[in-house]
């Protein structure tokens, strides 16, 4: 068969970037199903044909795990979808996840040559397409792994960083056990990112893939409580430990009324909705308060997720309260756009100062003040400055505080000799994940603070290489 002959391709610059069909806003706010339907095979081939196969591909440099982007896109253009998926999996164990939640516009797609003149190749959409194609068509195969090395590695936390470390090390022949505190593996992919953006059965099938590779998984194991890091080494005989416990502790603003009923952290709100399936209550046992008017405080992806979830939970009005302007919002453009389409009302340059409650201690309104932008601050963004006398009230029955998370203290506080910074993040070498304690590596949000799925995976990839080296040589 002349299968290898490439089809004649149209000129890349003559094809526009292919949009991904999605549920219309008025329909999707009434359900928790995924918003985009994904590309069709025809659209995927057409989009892949736009790639000019650069000799010196900049896209790969923009990817924290260095996915072989031109190679996999070439396979897509030739209709070899399953092969394309396997090509990605050589460097990325979670393509269906990354294709959905990576900020491609600031990573692989940003340096794309096509983007200089027009629109970059939709790398993320193609990644998602091939991962879905492989899974849905039942073509997922587990590659062979290296011969057993006899070395045992404990991975603490089954989020993006931990799953990546586990996937890499098990392929290198090490005996890997992942310990997860919650009852389901996936970390933020399960409790934080909503079903409509990342279906939970996709996360679970990616976890299942890591397990099929040979990694063991123990849920309900709270490292630092059920077992300490030191015990993993001394009593359970692990040769190395990777800590990827993530950013847990939700931040609050410490303003009056923040402990009123109806004021949630985004973590609590999203955990109830996603992991505990509150949207199915009373079929599922974990509830969320019924809300009509919701204020979400913050401007990141988590704030967008919370706002869009609140809408789907039946809120009539959802206000996004953010103290800077839209330009400074850390959320992905696509998420902001989706939120706007779904009728989320943006109150920009606005900051909450007090929550007011009724006699039952339920929140009934949020008092805000208007802000204007001054000089840039340490973050490089223009500092919001209060406009005196601009106070006003929004009537609400639920508030979701989404201003970030600190480091979960359980591991640092129970591991003598493990150094942390003043925010409680574990100090680890950015290139290797090595901590102050021999044999203990760390990466992801617990090291760099709340960031993205792909950065955590990038840290996991580097740590896995360093752990492999350490297990071979014993050198620290």
């Amino acid at each position: 068969m002349a299968e290898a002959t490439p089809r004649p391709r149209p000129k890349p610059f003559s094809i526009p970037r292919q949009p991904m069909p999605e549920q219309p806003p008025q329909v999707r706010v009434g359900n928790f199903r995924e918003v985009p339907f994904g590309l069709t095979p025809d659209l995927a081939i057409l989009e892949a044909s736009r790639c000019i196969q650069c000799k010196n591909p900049q896209c790969v440099k923009g990817c924290p795990v260095s996915v072989q982007i031109p190679e996999f896109i070439d396979l897509v253009a030739r209709g070899k979808f399953v092969e394309a998926a396997r090509k990605i999996k050589e460097t990325n164990a979670l393509p269906a996840v990354c294709g959905r939640v990576c900020p491609q516009e600031e990573q692989c797609e940003m340096p794309c040559v096509l983007g200089k003149k027009g629109e970059p190749v939709a790398i993320g959409r193609l990644e998602r397409f091939v991962a879905d194609f492989e899974r849905v068509t039942g073509n997922v195969v587990v590659p062979g792994v290296a011969a057993p090395t006899g070395k045992r590695v404990a991975v603490v936390g089954a989020g993006p960083a931990g799953l990546t470390v586990a996937g890499d090390l098990v392929q290198l022949g090490h005996d890997v056990t992942i310990f997860e505190a919650l009852h389901k593996a996936g970390g933020v992919l399960m409790y934080g990112i909503p079903e409509f953006r990342l279906p939970k059965d996709i996360v679970q099938s990616e976890v299942e893939y890591i397990r099929k590779l040979g990694a063991k998984l123990e849920c309900n194991a709270v490292i630092g409580k059920s077992i300490t890091i030191d015990e993993l080494v001394t009593e359970e005989g692990f040769d190395a430990v990777f800590v990827g416990t993530g950013a847990g502790l939700p931040y609050f603003m410490n303003i009056p009324g923040e402990n009123l009923i109806g004021v949630y952290s985004a973590n609590e709100y999203l955990t109830r909705a996603n992991l505990m399936k509150a949207y199915k209550f009373p079929e599922s046992d974990t509830p969320l308060n019924k809300a009509t008017n919701v204020a979400v405080v913050g401007g990141g992806n988590v704030a967008m997720d919370a706002a869009r979830t609140a809408k789907r939970m039946g809120a009539e009005n959802v206000y996004l309260v953010y103290r800077r302007s839209k330009k400074e919002m850390p959320a992905r453009v696509e998420e902001v756009h989706h939120a706007e389409e779904e009728g989320i009302e943006f109150h920009l340059l606005t900051n909450p100062i007090t929550y007011h409650g009724n006699d039952d201690a339920r929140v009934v309104s949020v008092e805000c003040q208007k802000m204007e932008l001054g000089e840039p601050d340490a973050s490089g963004r223009r500092r919001p400055v209060v406009i005196k006398g601009s106070e006003f009230k929004l009537t609400v029955d639920t508030v979701i505080v989404s201003i970030g998370n600190g480091a979960n203290p359980l591991v640092p506080s129970t591991t003598p000799g493990l150094d942390t910074n003043k925010w409680g993040n574990i100090l680890a070498d950015q290139e290797t994940g090595k901590t102050s304690k021999k044999g203990i590596f760390a990466g992801g949000d617990i090291v760099i603070g709340a960031a993205t799925v792909i950065l955590a995976m990038g840290a996991g990839r580097k740590a896995a290489a360093a752990i492999h080296e350490y297990l071979k040589t014993g050198a620290w």
């Binding site: 502790l249 973590n267 009373p282 308060n289 201690a361 359980l410």
Partner: protein
């Protein structure tokens, strides 16, 4: 999967359960709790660990049926399994020789008090205990508490058994007779813990209480269990469950625990409807109060 070895009703709507959970059994210390989940649609329910057997690998919990989940827990028989058992969680009780310690358990609060009282006694303290309940049918662990105490007073609010009155009356009598109390530990319904704190406050007696807020993950991630202590917000699951009773904002705790009354009712009505009968219900998660 975590099999149940024993379930028994030890007072009206109060159940004792022994569960096989070796990791938790091995590590657990007085004052700590665990989280249970029965099915894939189930809630994560925090409950105090009363005792454990590291050799057998079992933990013992005592709980009162308060809503759908605990009602379903109570119906589980030996051989049934919990899907998830997580723990031990929370900080262990700080134990040292305080001299004389007064331990107060109100209602179901006697369950979390027992392991702490046992540890307090083992550390060489003189232990004066007060165990109380609204009425005789709700009194638990009297014999077990008696066994570890130097002196014990049992009270019932309605006088249906032992001494009529509140646990605070018995505490006041200890104070009035000139006991030098190094520490008072009070666990029970929030109004009881608050009342105890008000009795000890004027005397400057250090008073620890064990709190029972609503929790979800119980590992410091969600912030549902926050409570104001001395004007600062604390997460009970990682900073507690024990706090200085003179610093806790009990009013806020009571209010926050009412957050889901409506939803609880909906859930209960569903199983009552299914059963065609009414289940009585009061309260009690971690710490043990309502």
């Amino acid at each position: 999967m975590f099999p149940i070895l024993e379930t028994k009703e030890i007072a009206k709507n109060v159940y004792l359960q022994r569960i096989l959970a070796p990791r938790v059994a091995k590590k657990r210390k007085a004052g700590q709790f665990l989280v249970l989940r029965r099915t894939d649609n189930g809630e994560r329910i925090p409950l105090t660990i009363v005792t454990s057997d590291a050799v057998e690998g079992t933990v013992t919990i005592i709980f009162q049926t308060v809503g759908k989940s605990t009602t379903e827990f109570a119906r589980m028989k030996p051989g049934d399994t919990y899907l998830d058992v997580v723990g031990p969680l929370g900080l262990a009780t700080h134990i040292e020789n305080f001299g004389t310690v007064v331990g107060i358990g109100g209602g179901i609060g006697a369950a979390p008090l027992l392991p702490i009282a046992t540890a307090i006694k083992a550390a060489g303290n003189r232990l004066l205990s007060i165990v109380g309940a609204r009425t005789k049918d709700l009194l638990i662990l009297e014999d077990e508490m008696r066994a570890v105490s130097d002196e014990i007073v049992v009270t019932t609010d309605d006088g249906s058994y032992a001494k009529k009155g509140f646990v605070t009356n018995a505490l006041q009598e200890f104070i009035d007779r000139g006991e030098k109390i190094g520490l008072c530990i009070a666990i029970g319904p929030v109004p009881m813990m608050r009342a105890v704190a008000e009795v000890t406050r004027p005397h400057g007696i250090r008073t620890m209480v064990s709190l029972n807020p609503i929790m979800v993950d119980a590992t410091g991630m969600c912030g549902a269990c926050r409570v104001s202590v001395g004007g600062t917000t604390k997460f009970v699951c990682v900073d507690g469950p024990e706090f200085d009773g003179h610093q806790v904002d009990f009013k806020e705790l009571v209010m926050r625990n009412r957050a889901y009354l409506l939803e609880e009712k909906t859930a209960m009505e569903r199983i009552e409807h299914k059963d065609g009968k009414c289940m009585g219900s009061v309260a009690v998660p971690v710490g043990g109060g309502n």
